[in-house]
Symmetry: D2
Subunit: 332 residues, 4 copies
């Protein structure tokens, strides 16, 4: 961390600052120039509050050199993390394809889709039991029943299941869930993240709709600080000014996250675009960009889906996407 000191600061003021910083266990490197003096802080600066430092009268600006995330940081953990999930894994040699309906609507629906997506090449089954909806009047999910239907589908197909949590008080319902999803709107629900850090469950953490990559990694850090290192990062589109697609899928996040962190990175092209006809090109693009997997909405009857039908593929269209993804994987 570097603090740039204002011109006109007295030696006494500077000494006060540096002894205060040394008292916090940091080494100090001073560099005096004619217009600016620069204080270099060396040591564990992750606990220094940069905004506080910047607010001091003699400080012009503060720049962090090290990233504030540690457990999620590739610098301290050079090898890719591979997470075992049921009979498969994420982050290693197997390309993860997580597929299923936006919402669980009935036992029949989930079983039917689960068989279809398994046949097409999915490695995991997804489905929403608790649904975050912008309007309180929209369908909120089947809740506990929805999770039961997913577990039945897992028993029948062997596919590990992924479903979203919205309230830490529901955690006991997730005992047989393989991967717990944290949705974009809860990415900075720090109380929920802390609770998930106390479990050993694999967490699929979606990027918030206006969150930076650094904030995504700091949210992963919340979970990891509690002792749970089983985290899958998920890019699902960010909010921008354009309105042709629901969100703007930020695929440069894939190579950037892989550089910054050792955690696996998957991409959700369904929510990102909100349009089923864009799922295939964006799934292929995400694969070519180096993602560790995809998360794709599939519905046996997209036109009558209770939510987000506009972005769901039919099982046939999904099988076509899987086949194309495999061809791209073979050449990169």
């Amino acid at each position: 961390m570097i603090a740039v000191i204002k011109k006109g600061t007295s030696d006494k003021q500077l000494e006060n600052l540096t002894s205060w910083l040394r008292a916090q266990g940091l080494d100090i490197h001073l560099s005096r120039g004619s217009t600016h003096t620069i204080v270099g802080l060396v040591g564990d600066t992750s606990k220094i509050d940069a905004e506080l430092l910047e607010s001091l009268e003699i400080v012009e600006s503060v720049k962090r050199i090290s990233e504030p995330f540690k457990s999620a940081n590739r610098k301290f953990h050079p090898d890719d993390t591979v997470i075992n999930v049921g009979n498969t894994s994420v982050g290693g040699d197997i390309f993860a394809i997580i597929a299923g309906p936006c919402s669980v609507e009935s036992e029949e629906q989930v079983l039917s889709i689960a068989h279809s997506v398994k046949a097409a090449g999915a490695t995991m089954l997804r489905g929403g039991a608790f649904k975050p909806r912008t309007s309180p009047y929209d369908f909120q999910g089947l809740k506990a029943d929805g999770i039961d239907y997913l577990i039945k589908a897992k028993k029948e197909t062997g596919l590990p299941i992924v479903t979203e949590i919205m309230n830490a008080n529901h955690l006991e319902l997730f005992e047989d869930v393989d991967v717990i999803q944290v949705g974009a709107r809860n990415m900075q629900n720090f109380e929920l993240l802390k609770e998930l850090g106390r479990t050993k469950k694999t967490i699929l953490l979606k990027r918030g709709l206006a969150n930076t990559l650094k904030e995504l990694l700091m949210s992963a850090e919340y979970i990891m600080a509690g002792g749970n290192e089983n985290i899958i990062l998920c890019e699902r589109g960010i909010r921008t000014f354009d309105t042709y697609t629901r969100n703007t899928l930020d695929l440069s996040a894939v190579p950037m996250l892989k550089e910054l962190s050792h955690l696996p990175v998957v991409v959700d092209p369904s929510h990102a675009t909100g349009l089923s006809r864009l799922v295939k090109p964006m799934a292929l693009a995400a694969t070519a960009a180096g993602a560790h997997g995809l998360m794709i909405e599939v519905h046996n009857d997209p036109k009558h889906a209770l939510c987000d039908g506009a972005q769901s593929l039919t099982p046939e269209a999904f099988a076509d996407v899987c086949a194309s993804v495999k061809r791209v994987l073979d050449v990169i």
Copy 2:
């Protein structure tokens, strides 16, 4: 709600759609043009899922005419809502000035600041006991102790208190809190909103960092749908591409929210800018724009504040802001 039907749709298909819509209790108005047919849906369309409708094969696009919020909507509640809070109120003739430290740090600190801000003209005391921080390694607040100190300050000064909740499980700690704040990161934590809807507490709901005014009002709707109509909306800056200020304070939200809704609207210029020297001009601007009140960070020792010192005013600077705000109020 209007659905534009694709060219080439058969009469049979159109009839199927309109009878399905009529079955949901809506009146249908058909307008056939040479290039497009338009279906107007009249009635309570708040329960119609526009995305589902848009996903139908024969539908080209869907446009909502009515706003999807009802309880928060000024159309159905033309008079301004005035909320009584302790010995004062928000939304009526009294301009609310909510002031205090970002974080509660000690009993002495809160008492000292409470007396100062009361003397300067504050109508309520704020202070964070539970703090949402981007990093798990940053100070997370004094929690229950922090609330205790606020309650002591309330007893000494008579100022109603405002403090943030992050977890519905903490609700019993908030029994003597007058206004419960929902922070920007929890604006779409729908589970928390539902719980708060079951209380009768006044809720100060902050706009999320990338949320539209419609989404803010839908989040208010979540609380109101549960039966709690005591909601104060708070504009606190949105995330944009510029980095000189921490957020971009969207003051046009003030007159726009007052037009769309009957709920009171306050502005937080401290978090919006992140810079103490911008608090005064933006507080005056918010007042001139028609806000019902302000929320301002004040610290007796901003340079040593445990969080967000950069945006806190000294008690003297705060007194100057209050005096200027009153002069602006007198002329508008």
Copy 3:
């Protein structure tokens, strides 16, 4: 186009509006509901000013159904446009790879890079002679000399050349240039677009840093309205809140633009990310998303490039990207 009429509008007012609209050559379809009356405008609404209509006292809101672009619109021109450029083409069977230095720095530099990129598989040579720089103190390009060096490189290698114009007064210098680039900052320099519409030159039109796809197509429309239909659209990243990459490459723009328009779409992964190490993954992703070509910065000595060295590939790295792109093309 649909206008929603306010409740309480008199028959007389409505008749005034509809006769005014009919006088502009439009057919009118009225749909009266209990809460709203809807006026459907059928005919050539591209000349109707939606904002003016919306400002009328009796109008609640106006929605466009048709896109306001015509010449660029796929609806009126279903087949892909293929543009012949020198000995190659863009938009058809040949995947365009446009490569070269950000800035032309010397004759030797351009010739050396031109030979390298041709050997690696480039179909066109790019190089900046006039450079738009944020600071007036930064290098502004070699101007006329730069274009001369590009023309020499074209003679030696046969590669058609692409270079940016910043001022219509420079047009005569571009006589032997094959493709004239309009940069992101000039995408809405309508005077320049109109001048280019009077030429028959192929124009590579880059998306502005905060422009919607509709605005990009309207800028293409400016050129096409003048009679020049040789336009290549280029996605090069948009401005968002994240700062890890210089811009956010919006790859969903590729399939979306191909759906909306018949014009070819290329992607510039170099400017989009500003980081050479992200060029390969994003080039592959753009290819997989269905782009008609790529525009890539290559420099023989990226560390000493006069501008944008950070995003340039070495000729070796570029050859590797070309080989990988071809493998992806083979399977999609």
Copy 4:
């Protein structure tokens, strides 16, 4: 400027870098830490290309300490700039109120509005003769005739006139124009800025729709670098994700620009919001935030204006805004 050097860099490599930097006239301050070495560059770093430096193999990151703008920088010009315009001035004791129609439509219209706005308190007359429109099919302005009508209005009323330029080739038409406006879409039309730098005309420079304050000041720097220091900065709203207002008016830009630069800052609440009913609250807010003036659209018949009628005030409403603005000015 500070360059952070990567761990593992050899002394030899570091020496190469520092001697190269010294050769460019900079003093070098080295600070070696256990994990990072920091190179401080002291001297005129405005000509150093930070991106080039960052691209060097041994450099981890580069941070600018000084702002890259000089002529526009308050540090080198502490006093406010006051610009004389006709019989009035901008930036000093007189609060500038620039009012008039979006587009000049006829001689009668301009004369009528000019007399109205003068009576209400306007200090300058605005009106568009060359209009930048997103669509080539929309009204493009009366051009030379429009300027003639403005000049007649100036002769009749004494009000200095402000009108937009879109093409440097039109400059001779602007001889009797007092203030030449550069619109948001041309803020980075560097060729136009350079031409305007060669004149002595007062330039009203509008912030681009997605440009940072730094970019706005760098564009002012382009004009100033040519010798023309008569520049008025104008905040007119930026593009964000919300759609209730056309743009998001960034009023914190007012105090921030006044801190960074000595140039006067005015605010355009009409274009910012696109809604006439928001003009008054935002005009008052801009005044309270410390703006040096306002730019407001007034039309004698807003419902029939050829462009942007939705955001124009009637002369009566404008007179009310002026009176309220004066009351706010009196108390701040």
